[in-house]
Each structure stands twice: as C-alpha cells, then as structure tokens.
C-alpha cells in the first residue's frame, strides 16, 4: 500500500517533484538525481521526460 521502493533505494525529491512525477507517470526510482545526496530535481525530471519522449 505504501509507496516505498524496496531496499535502500529511498528517493529524495521535493514534494512538488514527486507530485509532478506522479502526474506525468514517471517512476522517480529509475531517475538518477543530480541534486545533493542524489536528490531528484525538477531538471532531472524534465530530462527524464524528454528522454522518454525521444524514446517513444
């Protein structure tokens, strides 16, 4: 029930980044964060999104 990836792969991200990821159907756990402590930033999210767009 809880949105928690297994093991130690705890994703850091601001609540807004989480919301946007959720809204756009992006799995944060597969993004490599560029922020402090590997935090996923809005830019990372955008990059992931455009990567997905080019792939498809």
């Amino acid at each position: 029930q809880v949105q928690r990836p297994a093991g130690a792969t705890r994703v850091l991200a601001s609540p807004a980044v989480r919301r946007i990821a959720r809204e756009r159907g992006i799995d944060l756990t597969v993004i490599k964060g560029s922020g402090p402590n590997g935090r996923v930033t809005l830019d990372d999210l955008r990059a992931a999104e455009s990567a997905r767009a080019t792939r498809s």
Binding site: S14, P15, A16, V17, R18, R19, S34, G35, P36, R39, T41, L42, D43
Partner: protein, 321 residues
C-alpha cells in the same frame, strides 16, 4: 492627508469617538499625558476624563475593567503601555476575555480593542521590545491584528472597532513615526482576515507582517526579487486562501517575523502549508525570525531580522533543487 501611524490611530480614535459614545479609552497615562507614544494625545481634553480614563498601575485592572465595560454595551479601547507588561493581565485575557462568548453560550460578548505597542527598534531591551503575538494567536477566541503602515492602521482599527469580539491590536512601535503616507480623512475599513499582497511575483512567496514589512519590501525591491509579498495584517484568523494560493503558484516559501522562531507565528503558517499544499513545494519552508533569546538592548541590530538574512533565505529556497 499625510500621516504617520501615530497620527492615523489617533485621528481614527478621535473620529470614531465623536460619533459613538460607547467608545471609551483607558490605560496608564493615556489621558493628560496622551500616552507615552502620544497615540491618545488630545483625546482627554476633547472627550473628558470619563471617556479617556487614566488608570492606576495595574494592567489586570485595566483589562478586567474593560471586559466589564464591554459586557454592558460599551466598546472600550484599553491600552497596555508596552506589550511586555501585558502578562500581568494574562489571566483576564486568556480566561475571561477570550472565553466569555463561549462560556455564556453566546449570550454575552466582549467587543473591545486592546491596543498595545510591540516589537523592537527603539533600543528598549528586554522589557520594551517584545513581540508576543503567539501568546494571543494560540488563544482561541481572540482576533489578532497588526498593521504595517498608517493606512492599514486606520482601516484595520475601524474594522476592529466594528467587531463584536475582542481584538488584540498590536502596533509595531518602530513604525509609529517611520513613514508618512496618504490616509483618507473619511472613515474607511480594511477588512479583517484579509492579507495584503504588496508585491506579486512567481518565484517565491514571502509571508510577513507588522514591523518586518518595510524590511521585506526593501529586500525585494533592492534584490529585484520576483516575489509575492504577503502582509498578513490580521494574524488571526489568518487569510489562509491568499497564503495557499500564492504557495501553489510559487512553490517556495520564506516567512519573516521579528518574534522568536520557536512557536512564532511562522510555525503555524509553515504547518498550515505543510498540511495543505506540500505537493506544491520545491524547497524547504524557511523562517527568518528573531532568535530564541530574550530581546537584547545593545545588540538589538543583531537580533532583528535584516535584509541580509532575508536575502540569504530567499537564495536558499530559490537554489534548492
């Protein structure tokens, strides 16, 4: 007319007293002396010592008497000379003033406006500088107001005098004479419970009130910050809609007040945001406040939040990725 905050409050009291004999003023030195900050200057001469009442040195007597007056249909405006001394009347405020409507099942009310100067900036040290708004905001039943300029002072005081509930009216003493602005001579209201939006921008929401408003505005102008600046004006009940809609727009929040950080009003503002708009936040909610120490004398300038600290906080939330 161009007025400073003292003149705005004084003339508003004068105007309202002229038209409504339910309004009486009471407090230490409010009469012949005109108040230690001259806010009630000239009113005793005009309305007599029965309506502008010099009291003995007992805040609890002032507040208790004002409550009793309000119960009988008057609209008293008690003054506490410095907010720092209000604690000697705290039981009357918390256990009587705030609870009488509730306690009497709505049969009685306590319409009064308790005016008191707050905050630092006049080298007042430990006991002439406190910003105790949290004590009042935490107390259910009180409405808490704090103007940041002469115009709002008049408009908010008029609304407070209309209210059928007790108002704690906190006057930032360091803004008493710091600016003159155009204040209409006719009666007008600034509504309670509605914040002022003094600047609009998309990057960050800066939420502040009272003494810190000019400092925040100077920071925003000087630093060319693309910010919403929200002047709460009414500290309780907060204008939650204005706060939340700004936060949803900007996603970044800095809260600025002079009162100490721990359980300062910023804590509640932050908690309300974290409860109802967290998914819009790109960054931590940062508070810039007075430190959790008593208010000092000689090092006052270090105590008071300043542009440098506010800028640093803005930078922190803006750069947070």
């Amino acid at each position: 007319m161009m007025m400073n905050m003292v003149q705005a409050i004084n003339s508003t009291l004068d105007q309202r007293m002229a038209g409504d004999d339910r309004i009486v003023i009471l407090g230490e030195d409010v009469g012949r002396d005109g108040g230690v900050f001259r806010v009630t200057d000239g009113l005793q001469a005009k309305y007599g010592p029965e309506r502008v009442i010099d009291t003995p040195l007992a805040e609890l007597g002032i507040v208790g008497m004002a409550i009793g007056m309000a119960l009988e249909g008057l609209r008293p405006v008690p003054e506490i000379q410095f907010q720092d001394f209000i604690y000697t009347a705290f039981d009357q405020i918390v256990n009587q003033m705030a609870k009488i409507r509730y306690r009497t099942g709505g049969a009685n009310s306590v319409p009064l406006v308790l005016r008191t100067p707050v905050g630092g900036g006049i080298k007042g040290g430990l006991y002439h500088s406190q910003s105790g708004e949290s004590y009042f905001v935490h107390t259910a039943g009180l409405t808490v107001v704090s103007p940041s300029n002469p115009y709002d002072a008049k408009g908010l005081l008029n609304s407070s005098l209309d209210l059928d509930d007790p108002v704690i009216f906190l006057e930032p003493k360091r803004l008493y004479r710091s600016q003159k602005v155009e204040v209409p001579e006719e009666e007008f209201r600034v509504p309670l419970g509605k914040a002022g939006v003094l600047n609009t921008g998309d990057d960050v929401s800066i939420i502040t009130y009272g003494s810190m408003v000019p400092t925040v505005m100077a920071t925003v102008k000087g630093g060319n910050i693309n910010a919403d600046v929200i002047d709460l004006r009414t500290l309780w009940p907060l204008d939650i809609e204005t706060i939340i809609s700004s936060v949803k727009k900007t996603g970044r929040v800095v809260i600025v007040h002079e009162a100490p950080r721990t359980l300062g009003l910023g804590a509640e503002v932050s908690a309300l945001i974290a409860e109802r708009a967290i998914e819009y936040l790109y960054a931590p909610i940062v508070r810039v406040t007075g430190p959790d120490t008593p208010f000092p004398y000689r090092l006052e300038d270090i105590y008071l939040p300043n542009e440098r600290r506010i800028l640093a906080a803005i930078k922190r939330v803006m750069e947070f990725r």
